[in-house]
Symmetry: C2
């Protein structure tokens, strides 16, 4: 039996029109292996067995529009669909429209290519589509730029029409997804006048995927790339991955881990990467690879990887030529060098710029770029690790080739639950800086904690660097407007894996979605992103969207509270980073321990980065450095990040620091409890498959939030010597219990 | 939107009755969140997006019966379904019938519990069901035993009826699956008189799954057990796993690898195992764990694991009590000891029996067993590894406790493409021997080679050991009839993983299915198993079943031909065992090399195990030892297993050994080419999802079959010095090319 669904007609009204339900019996795939009667039964079966909602469809679900009037309106306006042009990208757009409209409207609504007398949807570029070439769209199209699109309600002849126009095929694809999102959210179509252009140019996922399919900091199973079967077998999942990314504007993917393996640059692996690139290309996704700096030695047979040695540069040039021979639109290299033991130019006394430029010269003739990570710290433990990147890179400003982007994490340490923005933002006016965000929740509870990250990213992007006076937000650094850069971008450390629902949990997928939207438009609000995602992923039911959006928007602050409130950071267990480990000390290097960061003692707690301490505050522009540098003016959310503060310090609340710490930790747990209650109240509003998983995960989150709270408070209490204030839940176990917890097989390492 | 399918009525005829197609509009889930109209559309969507056939449903697909007359007959006979009794196991049976009949017949056919006037299906045990207690079933039920079942066409009152009866609930469940398989295969129901009882008692899967979710010799992704989220989160896949196993009679699962990790016996991991046991229990599946012999030291704080030390035995007893406190029906321990570096009793100068008995005494009060593996070889390289197990275990016959089963691989080396049966079979009359089969294709092309293993298992089971004279087949040793054992069983090294289709490919799942059927009835023929599986998995279309069955039945012999014909063995690449490595030599131990096994030289090739060589033939009973011991009488399929033979030796075909080798290798490749042609001719007969994957995998298989052939012939040619005979395809590359191939990240290690 063939489960491909023949184009059958189903007309259906709203619930109040139940009596109208009928299927038209005309067999629409005559000669096919499955006659119409068998077909309908078959569908029932498929749906009842394999088809239960399991999250695989992400935000690309197209359930039928339930509002009868709206459905009628949609059907009238979309009685015919034309995607004009023949490229693979336009075919992808056409098929997505077909899939989406068949789902949302039932097939009666729209069949691409079919002639009708109702409204019309036309999509295309001015080159291929007369509608898109209409003079009245020209100005909007100019604003849409290379990758953007225009969606306009208009008329063609005497028929009402909606035009999705773009300058390039990929813009049409983006516009198609945008349009379908409008329908998913049940938006009215009569007055559409959308012009969208991405505010950054390189919007890439960074996969920390190893060639053995383990994923560093991966909590959704294993790597999507089945390297062993590539290039001969192309899993359908590769296409679905590309489709999901394209739907949110992501245009690049770094297949391999920043802790790179030179094997990925050998011919067999390049053939595998090329096969993936072929699958991704129609969706506007370019492939990038990580470059291990010592590859010329490991796979090139050279004795050095010194960038000043001519044969090293020549080797990289040949390697780049080889790659572009296989992947003509190869994006370029991402490099982690001289950081956490990775090889790099400093091994030969050269600078990061010298290393980056050698690679940049290799890919430059082909239009490629190098994304050079600023997450560096030397093997000697510094006075303050937070300062190292800026100290190392500031002198190099202006020394990088034009096709180098320096990739900077949002904060100066390492994707902690909350960090102040990285002091490099604004500090390298002559160097394009990409922002690296971590979508995967290494420090935020793995996949089982519901933590919506858009508010964190929003906080960082809206922060003011004061680099060119007030209003010099981080977002303006990243979108290039502050210093006039055209090469701009975001890198997101992916949270995808082999789990059926892609990211381990439905809500983890919201962070993938949010990353794409933020990279497209760093000015988008978290609430808007959550709203769009919820409607596309679950339902438009306001009784669901409202409370769940609220839950999402408060979830990051809750996690900060139950893990690292008031500017605390790096308190997690060693290695796998699963659960609390504020007592972690000793070992390989001091700045991999918790005690290095919290510095709790009988007096107080916190890392003194004020002028009396490491003076990391001086890395920020005035007046921010003064604001952060004083206990009196620093925002309390960053208090212990920048200051060592006495336990009896009076907080804004009037409480002592110790009491406030208890209050914050407890508040985090309470918020999770409320999230559980909210979710419980929503049973039946969505499918049971996804509902049940979230229910189970929220229970885990509450358990682990308490674990964090109890372990941290008991441990810090050994310094403060103060009691848990009245009315706050006492710890469940002893400190010894928490210190003895072991998780030898926590995922992601 | 809720994708759970409400019980709706769909009547449908055959293709010729297309005009009859209609859906009845009555909303059958009033008050539910989804009204009937929305429902139908929803189904279309679910099916069109997530529901494409991807193999997840295995052989538990229930597509509508396409033959109109048969469908009418089925509906009449099954107009009412009653599963009588309230246990969780019976609920599972009821739900399976519901799912199966709704699929096969459309809902009109049967709704459990609904009163009707047509035929009746009743299922239950004599205790809970009057129909099952009918005196005329008593004799059959006696024959069905503890786990078997009876299916009988009969009458209840004036209504025709079918009774599925069993002595235990799990028998009803097995009978239910059996009955549904009859419907899947479109069998007539008027004269059912089935009595089935499993011929072995312990039918278990052995998962070589590590706690980090890697799977030793796993080619279907990673471990199904998401240990990190257990016990808090129970993936729905655990239930589907249990259901699939129950459907083929498997009643136990060893969760952890034989290369055991003592961590799996610590309290957190026991809680996780208990959670899985709770999911599996209704499906009649017991959980087993592997026991690392040195666990008392590693997690028990003892200084020794010597079985003669009282506190060691006491530790195991306490550990067993702890486990049974959590898992009352815990199956017992599986142990790999003193083999490939694993700890064991010999570390303390004790015998395998002493070690096994200590564990057996620990689980015995709770009804548990110990499965002690005979796959042992010491750290010193023996003269002939094939001989070691029998040499070690024969003196121990009769020394094991009653609840110990010695688990013996089908052949004396290690799951090679073809081996003669293990000489331990028949040689330990006082010891119950389980047979260990490898379902996962470690040596048979991983998941991408279509190799149906039932014929291999059939060859071994039908082999005559002559232990008690002619007719003393291996099957009779295993089912206990030869030596009067009641504890009998099969262990199958699982090939399941996180891949959506469970086993990496649709056809790999046939081996899982076959293992269950063979363990239930070692006398089943491979053709019958293939036939049943194909109908349940794909279609009853004779144009598909016929050619594909033929393809399956010839596939094992083809793999033997292109990998290791004429008794060759152990020629694979080192470590991962992916692809040919006949040149493998040196390294840690000689008996892990290829040259140790093939012993090719200028004179000839093969391992001399005749009396003039290692005399391994003497481990077989007469007259077999004489038959195998002479080049003149040994079956050619085992020629080079037992003899070192000159290149110019005349074969039955009249060809020289060298020419015959070329012919066999080439024949293997040719068979795969024909398999590809067959598959190509079947396009459209099944869904495109599974069709395309098999198509791609067969292309890989052909490529790799040629790789095997070319590499082996080129290599052996360096010894024989003879040419490839006229008319045979010359090797594609040079020997140097093949020797240089590296696969550092081949899966399964």
């Amino acid at each position: 039996m063939d489960a491909v669904i023949p184009t059958t007609s189903v007309s259906a009204g709203s619930r109040s029109e139940a009596a109208d339900l009928r299927t038209k019996g005309a067999p629409l795939s005559p000669g096919g292996p499955v006659g119409a009667p068998a077909f309908l039964l078959l569908v029932l079966i498929v749906a009842s067995t394999a088809g239960a909602e399991d999250g695989y469809d992400l935000w690309l679900r197209y359930p039928p529009v339930s509002d009868a009037a709206l459905l009628r309106d949609y059907r009238e306006r979309l009685s015919e669909v034309r995607v004009e042009g023949g490229s693979e990208t336009l075919r992808a757009a056409r098929e997505e429209l077909q899939r989406g409209l068949r789902g949302l409207l039932g097939d009666a609504g729209a069949r691409p290519g079919e002639v009708s007398r109702g409204g019309l949807l036309v999509a295309g570029t001015p080159e291929g589509s007369p509608a898109a070439a209409a003079p009245e769209l020209a100005e909007d199209l100019r604003r849409a730029g290379a990758e953007g699109f225009v969606i306009r309600s208009t008329a063609i002849g005497d028929r009402p029409a909606i035009v999705v126009a773009a300058n390039a095929d990929v813009g049409v694809l983006y516009g198609t997804f945008h349009f379908l999102r409008l329908l998913q959210a049940h938006r009215r179509l009569e007055d559409l006048a959308v012009v969208e252009a991405p505010r950054t140019r390189y919007r890439v996922l960074n996969h920390w995927d190893n060639l053995d399919r383990t994923v560093e900091r991966g909590y959704a199973g294993f790597s999507l790339w089945d390297w062993h079967k590539l290039p001969d077998y192309l899993s359908p999942r590769y296409r679905d991955y590309a489709r999901a990314n394209a739907s949110i504007g992501i245009n690049g993917t770094v297949l391999t881990s920043v802790n790179a393996d030179a094997t990925s640059l050998t011919p067999p692996y390049l053939a595998k990467a090329a096969a993936l690139a072929d699958v991704f290309r129609p969706w506007g996704i370019r492939v990038y690879l990580t470059a291990r700096f010592s590859a010329p030695i490991e796979i090139g047979g050279l004795e050095t990887a010194d960038p000043r040695v001519g044969e090293v540069a020549a080797w990289w040039k040949r390697k780049a030529d080889e790659i572009y021979g296989l992947i003509p639109d190869f994006g370029g290299f991402v490099v982690k060098a001289n950081s956490e033991g990775q090889p790099g130019p400093q091994d030969y006394g050269r600078t990061h710029a010298e290393g980056a430029n050698m690679l940049a010269d290799a890919v430059s003739p082909h239009g490629g770029v190098v994304m050079w990570r600023a997450f560096v710290y030397s093997n000697e433990v510094p006075v303050d690790r937070a300062k190292q990147a800026r100290d190392e890179f500031t002198p190099l400003d202006g020394a990088f080739r034009q096709n180098v982007l320096v990739q900077v994490k949002n904060g100066p340490i390492d994707f902690q639950p909350r960090e102040p923005f990285h002091p490099l933002f604004g500090a390298l006016p002559r160097t394009p800086l990409m922002m690296e965000l971590q979508i995967t929740q290494e420090y935020l509870g793995f996949a089982t904690h519901l933590v919506f990250l858009a508010p964190m990213w929003e906080e960082v992007l809206r922060a003011d660097t004061f680099a060119r006076g007030e209003g010099s937000t981080v977002a303006k650094v990243i979108d290039g407007s502050l210093h006039g850069h055209e090469r701009t971008g975001f890198a997101g450390v992916a949270n995808t894996g082999t789990d059926r629902n892609w990211c381990g949990s439905a809500f983890a997928c919201a962070n993938w979605f949010a990353f794409g939207r933020v990279a497209w438009d760093p000015g988008l609000g978290s609430g808007e992103i959550a709203d769009t995602w919820l409607r596309a992923t679950f339902t438009n039911d306001p009784g669901f969207v409202g409370p769940v959006k609220e839950m999402m928007l408060g979830s990051w602050e809750a996690a900060v509270d139950y893990m690292t409130p008031l500017g605390l950071h790096h308190l997690m267990a060693r290695g796998h980073h699963y659960g609390p480990g504020p007592w972690v000390s000793g070992g390989e290097r001091e700045d991999w321990t918790s005690v290095y960061y919290h510095r709790a003692d009988r007096e107080g707690i916190g890392f003194d980065r004020s002028p009396s301490g490491s003076d990391a505050v001086s890395q920020y522009f005035p007046p921010l450095r003064e604001l952060l540098g004083s206990v009196e003016t620093v925002p309390e959310k960053y208090l212990l990040w920048f200051h060592h503060v006495r336990w009896d310090h009076r907080m804004e609340s009037g409480r002592t620091l110790w009491d406030e710490l208890v209050v914050r930790y407890s508040r985090g747990v309470e918020t999770v409890r409320r999230m559980r209650e909210t979710w419980r109240s929503l049973e039946g509003k969505i499918d049971s498959g996804r509902y049940e998983q979230v229910r189970a995960f929220l229970a885990i989150q509450e358990k682990e939030a308490r674990w964090w709270r109890d372990a941290c408070l008991l441990y810090f209490q050994t310094f403060s010597g103060r009691p848990i204030p009245e009315g706050y839940e006492p710890p469940e176990h002893t400190l010894e219990h928490y210190r003895a917890v072991r998780h030898p097989y926590a995922p992601g390492i």
